[in-house]
Amino acid sequence: MSCKELRDGIAAKEIKSVAATEAVFSAIDKYEPMVGAYISTFKEQALAKAKEVDGKIAAGEAVGELAGVPVAIKDNLCTTFGTTTCASKILENFHSPYNATVIEKLLAADAVIVGKTNMDEFAMGSSTENSGLKQTVNPWDTSRVPGGSSGGSAAAVAGRLCFAALGSDTGGSIRQPASLCGVVGLKPTYGRISRYGLVAYGSSLDQIGPVTRTVSDCALMMNVIAGHDEKDSTSVSESIAPVCNYLEKLDEPISGLKIGVVPEFVAGGEADVQKATAEAIEVYKKLGAEIVEIEMPHFDYAISAYYVIATAEASSNLARYDGVHYGHRTERPADYIEVYSKSRAEGFGKEVKRRIMLGTYALSSGYYDAYYLKALKVRNLIRGDFTRAFEKCEAILMPVSPTTAFRLGEKIDDPLQMYLSDVYTIAANLAGIPGISIPCGFDESGLPIGLQILAPAFAEEKLLRIARMFEMQTDWHQKKPAMPK
């Protein structure tokens, strides 16, 4: 059952939220020890909320758009309940005094919050192996990674340990795990969703987005969380980009659709990925879409530019974790400087340290022009590529990840290799445009493959419809992993 079906069922009094919530926690009891999707869960609070929703509905009172639906939240979204750890030892016991704006929206929509999901520490990673607190595995094959950094959210959705989840995407962190776990993941346009309360990694790249079983669920989540927030100066106002009802015309296909493809990309990646991508293109062709060849001449440079910009911003965003005002503090600092250097050394994992170092270096005097400034210029060129491409087509199609889920430990010792696997997702973050990953097949080992569709800024409504077109013709999204006993 999808999130939307559940919501409708609860609203129609056919299903009780308490029953759905209890079922979710039952599944958690059974499968969490293996999957490890959650850092923390809120059973009591969730059931209480479910009961409250059921009561209101029974009494005929108005309830929110997500009333009674159990959802999971990536643990880099601040909540006043439980902890907000970002899967880091440095925030292991951090209790936020405020809720992120998207959390407030979920609460106002009467969603039932199941728990906070695991992730790569501070959202830095592509496999969730960089979590400082626990390991999450891919429900399709527990010897493999769920992808990252929103691996916990993707695994929870795929493993039916919640009905929908929120993740965050800075270089592909929603789309890639969605692809590796066979679910839907959307990175909205930069500025579409408030970042207030999202623990910052790469401020000019970060966006919160839904991870769901179906495209409709994604649209439903967008209805709840999209919109301007006065607390976020980078969130776009209604006058510039009005929010619409993403569900309204969702099932209406786009006629005369022009889809852009870069031949090298669709021929990129593993054989199975190539095959699935090619087949997906055929599906669109059958639907009457015109496939247009496009160029993205600066795509190759996206990874370099991204890792300079993201790490530079991260090195600054993570400076606040210093053991003084909150978070982990070292036991015996010799002086106030050691409060910083030891607390951070003890609290941060390797990948985080690496990226802080990289970012600090890129911004330091003498290197700023060569790295940071250069990267910002490359960013402009990449955005230019998209602008030109979208003159010839309405959406761009390419793989999400060159591979399916790789084995735990396979790439962890070679950070550069790990970075290079972000090749298809990163450019969208640099340009600020929206991108979605939808299930489009499986490889020989039965591992999910995702299809990526990109659209111009603030064209989520159209993007979702284009994705829905594919979904209506296929049943990949209905497949779920055979969870072991």
Partner: protein, 486 residues
């Protein structure tokens, strides 16, 4: 002290606290003396996930100040992060402005000797957020973040000052100016202004010039400390140069603190990487474009600046530089003065009334002269009464005081207090004649013109004053005496 010739070169960096109600990037109240850490929210505490939102009022105050400082206001400006680690800086970076400051290339006039003025160039004006406060006890340090995030205006001058008096004059003038503009209370007790002078010397030795290394003195918060630290630095640098001959080079600028107790500057611990601030554009804030109607609206809030006003009073009203300075120390006083003059008060008289009594009374009541309850019209009338001789200058202060107490008009009060000066020539002539009749010897003495004449004249005047119970207009009496006795 030495036989070297030298020129002093001083530039000044000033931080001014803007008097907005809330902080620069969050809506916490700015409240001096609040319980520690009680005016803090997730944003200024630098918690995970928070984002800054610009205070419009702070921006407008900053633009107003930049305009008053004759700066070019940047049409396009942005924010940058300045990174360094310190316990009173919760994010361990400060949101500031680096390469595109709000204002640049301006100037300010400062008063120098003999009622002249000197132009000091302003290099840049920009906005930033303040850090919190560190307090030190014996064994540890405490951090209070109430001030963290307060809006600060940073003003940097060119090194155009050459003596400590000029540095002080600049600081004082800036204080006056920002108060006039209403952008800062500039209360030194509350730490609203901080100064950091950069000092060096250009020494001429054996016909060639040598520049001593620049010293920056950090965090001064009084005019006195400012002036003295500059003077101390001049002496110290001269001594140092004579001993070591060290000259200015890349990287030998020193940072010093001021030890007020011993009145010396002290070298601060060298921090090699302390100055790599790794500036980069603040991704959480969008750029600011100040132009068009918005800029004009702000420009419309400029007022006549204090030094200009002061110099105008000297020229236009023939007031002394000192008096003009007193009247223009605060905008409300000056504006009140101008209103009284507009109502017909003779400027010098009004000036005297205000400087000799008005300001004192206002001070006692903790208010401005405009709030004494005396209307400009009434005060103008009082001044006119003195000018016309209806009451003496001495009496006018008593009347003024009563005006403040009762709010009554000066004419009424003069009557009630019996302070109407007799100026009627006919009436006074009669009294003079009477006095002459009663004191023939004195009249003789005056007419004779000898040694006793001056004393006798005073005596006669005194007698007239006595007969009129001090209410005769001495000028008029004197004139009558002169006419009758010559």
């Amino acid at each position: 002290m030495s036989n070297l010739q030298y020129k002093v070169v001083v530039g000044l960096e000033i931080h001014v606290h803007l008097c907005t109600k809330t902080k620069m990037f969050c809506a916490c109240a700015l409240e001096y003396g609040a319980i520690p850490n009680s005016r803090v929210c997730p944003v200024c505490l630098g918690m995970p996930g928070v984002l800054p939102v610009m205070n419009k009022q702070a921006l407008e105050y900053a633009v107003l100040a930049a305009l008053a400082l004759n700066c070019k206001v940047a049409e396009f400006t942005k924010w940058d992060r300045k990174s360094y680690y310190y316990p009173d800086l919760p994010k361990n970076y400060q949101i500031s402005q680096y390469d595109l400051p709000l204002g640049a290339q301006g100037f300010i006039e400062i008063p120098v000797e003999n009622g002249q003025s000197k132009k000091i160039r302003i290099q840049r004006v920009h906005l930033e957020e303040d850090a919190g406060k560190n307090l030190h006890t014996a064994g540890f340090s405490q951090v209070d973040l109430n001030r963290a995030g307060a809006p600060l205006l940073e003003i940097v001058t060119e090194p155009d000052m050459n003596i400590s008096a000029e540095v002080r004059a600049l600081a004082v003038e800036l204080q006056r100016m920002v108060r006039y503009l209403g952008v800062s209370e500039a209360d030194m007790q509350k730490g609203h202004m901080r100064f950091e002078p950069n000092i060096n010397l250009v020494v001429t030795k054996d016909g060639s010039e040598h520049k001593t290394p620049i010293a920056e003195v950090k965090n001064l918060n009084s005019f006195r400390a400012l002036e003295r630290s500059v003077d101390y630095e001049i002496r110290r640098q001269l001594d140092d140069f004579q001993q070591s001959g060290e000259v200015m080079q890349m990287g030998n600028k020193s940072t010093r603190g001021w030890d007020d107790a011993n009145e010396v500057t002290v070298l601060q611990r060298e921090k090699e990487e302390a100055h790599d601030y790794r500036y980069f554009p603040e991704p959480d804030l969008v750029p600011v474009e100040v132009k068009g109607q918005w800029l004009e609206d702000i420009r419309g809030r400029l007022c006549e600046l204090p030094l200009k006003k002061q110099m105008r009073y000297v020229e236009q009203y023939k007031l002394s530089d000192y008096d003009a300075g007193v009247l223009t120390a605060e905008r409300s006083t000056a504006e009140f003065f101008e209103q009284v003059v507009k109502e017909g008060g003779e400027p010098k008289r009004v000036c005297n009334l205000l400087t000799q009594l008005g300001l004192k009374l206002a001070n006692e009541r903790g208010c401005g002269v405009a709030e004494l309850g005396v209307t400009p019209k009434n005060l103008a009338q009082l001044a006119q009464m003195v000018e016309a001789g209806e009451t003496s200058a001495g009496a006018s202060t008593s009347i003024f005081e009563e005006m403040v107490k009762t709010g009554k008009e000066p004419q009424v009060l003069a009557q009630e207090l019996n302070l109407i000066q007799k100026s009627d020539v006919g009436e006074l002539e009669a009294i003079v004649e009477q006095v002459f009749k009663e004191n023939p010897k004195a009249v003789e003495d005056v007419k004779s013109g000898g040694k006793k004449s001056k004393k006798a004249r005073s005596f006669l005047l005194g007698q007239v004053m006595q007969k009129t119970k001090g209410r005769a207009n001495p000028k008029v009496v004197s004139k009558i005496l002169s006419e009758k006795l010559s």
